[in-house]
């Protein structure tokens, strides 16, 4: 199954993903209209800036296997699809107890202020590629199977090595 995977070494902390995410989850799906919307559209991906390294790491729901948030949710507002492993959240059923937020190992369950319910990544249903991935200018976010990412990295490493060898040969 495809996941949103991060390559922190490529992230430059532009936060395009955050904006794209909020817009995608707005009524209008348009940046300028979304800003004015009530409730305020909210991002579900968080770019954490690390000043010591002048680096940034984007974080979003990992859609864990046997997801802790779905285990503790009393009203089953959080549900995991048995096949795709996607964890979805129903605002109607959410009672705002924040049990999910407490057990999430990645801290990626946020709060929708007006509706007082949880918000989290739902992998953009209806889209082939999640909005955050599509918006990433440096490919720090990729939508791939884990196996595939290893392949990509292998190719990159091989390319680097080949370039080095070429330099030597010259």
């Amino acid at each position: 199954m495809k996941e949103v995977l991060i390559r922190p070494e490529l992230c430059m902390g532009c936060r395009s993903c955050e904006i794209a995410c909020a817009v995608e989850h707005s009524e209008s799906k348009n940046l300028f209209a979304a800003i004015m919307e009530k409730p305020t559209p909210q991002k579900r991906i968080y770019v954490e800036y690390v000043p010591e390294y002048n680096a940034a790491i984007p974080m979003t729901c990992r859609h864990c296997e046997d997801a802790p948030c779905t285990t503790v949710c009393p009203t089953k507002a959080l549900k995991q699809d048995e096949i795709t492993r996607v964890v979805t959240h129903s605002t109607d059923l959410c009672i705002g107890c924040w049990a999910c937020s407490m057990v999430c190992n990645y801290g990626v369950i946020g709060r929708q202020k007006e509706a007082r319910v949880a918000v989290k990544c739902n992998l953009c249903p209806g889209r082939e590629i999640p909005a955050c991935v599509e918006a990433c200018p440096t490919n720090a976010l990729v939508f791939l199977e884990v196996k595939k990412l290893s392949g990509v990295k292998r190719t990159e490493a091989a390319l680097k090595l080949a370039r080095g060898m070429q330099g030597k040969a010259l």
Partner: protein, 158 residues
């Protein structure tokens, strides 16, 4: 603001100081801690839900969600105990005709359970702030692994 007494379970050592402090302050402990299988301590207290189910069956309006928080008015309480039956967490008890549930120790600056917690596992803050902490913690962990590549990547771009 969704503020309640929450627990960072990874820090809890199951010492029960919270229970004892609460009992001392409020006569009945409103937080209950058990260690599951002798290995995983979990304290349970009122989660101050934002769409609280306990208010649904309340006949006199004693329990209500107001000003962004769950309010309880003992004067209006009829002592029917229906709220207790509605709570999915079993976090309140009826005692002497009134509801015993976490009210953040109004006479104290911070709830006594939070103040006494030796490991600072219990905290009284917004739920989001905890998510933020976890993300920071993960960044710390990732830093160890990603350190060389990040540093290299940055250098190239500077």
């Amino acid at each position: 603001m969704p503020t309640a007494v929450y627990c960072d379970l990874s820090r809890c050592i199951g010492c029960r100081a919270c229970e004892l402090a609460c009992q001392r302050e409020n006569k009945t402990s409103r937080i209950s801690l058990e260690v599951v299988e002798g290995l995983a301590p979990v304290p349970v207290s009122c989660r101050q839900c934002e769409t609280p189910l306990c208010t649904a069956p309340c006949p006199g309006g004693a329990l209500r969600y107001e000003n962004g928080r769950l309010e309880y008015d003992a004067e209006k309480c009829t002592g029917c105990g229906l709220c207790i039956l509605a709570c999915p967490f079993g976090a309140a008890v009826l005692k002497g005709g009134v509801i015993e549930r976490c009210d953040f120790c109004p006479e104290k600056e911070i709830p006594v359970c939070v103040a006494t917690c030796p490991t600072a596992a219990l905290f009284c803050a917004e739920a989001e702030s905890f998510g933020k902490n976890i993300r920071h913690r993960n960044v710390e962990k990732m830093k160890k692994i990603l350190d060389p590549s990040i540093a290299a990547g940055r250098e190239g771009r500077r």
